[in-house]
Amino acid sequence: MDTGRLKKLLLDGDPAFWALLKQQTRDAQAFDELFLLSSLRKKARARHLPDLPSVQEKIRLAIVGGYSLYPLQELIEHLCEMEGTTCELWTGDFDNYLSEIMDEASGLYAFAPQVVLVMPSENRCRYTGAFTDPREAQLAEANHVVRSLLELAARVHEKTRAEVIMTNFMLPARYDLGDYRSRSAGSDWSFRKRVNLELGLEAPPSLRICDLEFLSHRLGGIASRDERSWFESKQAGSPALLTALAREAVHIIASLRSASKKVLVLDLDNTLWGGVVADDGLEGIELGDTSPRGEAFKAFQKYIASLKQRGVLLAVASKNDYAKAAEVFEKHPEMVLRLDDLVSFKINWDPKSDNIRQMSAELNLGLDSFVFVDDNPAEIEIVRQFAPEVATILLGPDPSEYVAQLQDCRWFERSTITAEDLERTKQYQTEARRKEFQANITDMDSYLESLEMKGALSEFTAVDVPRISQLINKSNQFNLTTRRRTEADILALMRDPACVGFSMRLADRFGDHGLIAIVIGQVRDAVMQIDTWLMSCRVLKRQVEEEVLNELARLAARHNCASLHGVYLPTAKNEMVRDFYPRMGFTLTSENENRREFELSLKNYSPILTKIKITRRAYESN
């Protein structure tokens, strides 16, 4: 971090100092950086460097705990001020929090705090008996620790009406005890995990947990601790942990006073898919399981869809060709997001700041409810300049990191528990009982039924060609003939009127399996020759085979074929389908060591009933 410019602005008495200080504070990673920035802030205040006119909110914050509270308080004070909140601080004495909370005449209550951060001592979160004690005794003691902490928090809240933030406990990060650490509820490892878990689940709405277990997990257990700083000055952890803790505490304090964001505005090209749809076309963009990059973009869409489920509104702002952009949403089989997932779809060449302003007016939501995501720094910059209330995320160069970028943006977090949530909990419980019932069902039919499977059959389409070719060239086990084909071969087949080629996609209530079966048939002399039949092994025994056969029979009948002819060509890897055709009702017509041929008459064929709901059929324009 370079503070040269900041120092110069300070010496020159330039108020631009404040914006840069805020920026560098946001970006600062290490303790010493934040400490330096905090020192510069104090210098600027001492010199009465004029601040930009802004409403600084004031808050009375008390911190008590089983640790030395300096330099944590300095970091918290600095971060709060940079977030627009001036902190009036009161800090308890080292490890005096129990009496400060219990004694009604203590300085804590005289201070009349609005927010109280309580940092219980980890030395009091430890099983006092032996590792070999009965588990009931160990868990009872953990529950007792939780109850005491909840009572402590409740007491602070009752006496002050303040919001209470309580830290939980870091887990040990040394090998001590070996694998036994997770076998006894009396080890610090298990005991603290239990306490942290129960504390979080049992905390009332007035208590927020500052999750030290999570923060130290994120940072690394070893990096979070610093024994020397405990012996020398009773610190809660390493400087890096104190930094993370201060940031988290300030984040929680800020979230008590501001609503989370409501709308996520997305770019399209190189944001939701790889490539530029206007140049590369529907078939050329990267999206879906064909390539690692395509998978990454699909995963990003899935995460965005999960945000929608949490209640975030989704919108699109893209400089693009409207018809081509819309076509991707309507026709691309690997798109997770569809047009009806969006509350606004702005495809034009206007500045995106204008488009977001329009959305704000249409949805009747303030600009500060919007988060804008783009891979193009120029677009981000325009929005920052012309709609500064909008939060922005500039996506990095690697789409595999897009999800993490959104997950770490901290704008769509939930903080409160509402009556609705509690109602939903009830619904979930009902649902859970239903599932438990289902889990008890052992017969296959009921199991398949419970999967709520949906199948979509489609003739080969240009968009699917890469995935089709990939499966044709990679599938070994469930592959009757193992005939390999290039993308060009497949495109040629698609133009051949005597050729039938279709694929099947399967989804169930646990998710989308994507394109999982491929069949190629050749019509010759009123016979449908099954040139290729292959399937992805992860959907075996799910009645996909039956539905594929139904479709084959249907298409054969359309081509006036009286029978299906299938052939099994053995390889080192496809033994599993050696008897596939007879299992499906075909009769063996000839056999030698290189091939087995089969036939199925369609004269009396009636479709096999399955538990898969077919939503689309091949060569039907639906």
Binding site: F35, S39, P71, R228, S229, E232, Q235
Partner: protein
């Protein structure tokens, strides 16, 4: 690096964090600087360790009686690397 170099580098760190300018000499110590209290000391030491890429052992910093001895300690720990 010798003691003078170390003190010169310490001077830049002190200039950054102290509101009142302090001129470091080998003889100066924490009690001569009003801002340099036990709290400030904790943060200051984190910055010094990072700047010199050293790690002091438990308790040894407080044994240094003045900046000269502190600079010598930094040199000693640097040479161990």
């Amino acid at each position: 690096m010798n003691q003078t170099d170390v003190i010169a580098k310490l001077q830049t760190i002190f200039d950054d964090v102290f509101l009142e300018p302090v001129v470091l000499t080998p003889a100066i110590s924490a009690k001569d600087v009003s801002e340099w209290d036990s709290l400030m000391h904790i943060s200051l030491m984190v910055s010094v360790e990072k700047a010199f890429d050293v790690r002091f052992r438990v308790g040894e910093v407080e044994n240094a009686k003045n900046i000269g001895e502190f600079a010598d300690l930094i040199l000693k720990r640097q040479q161990e690397r």
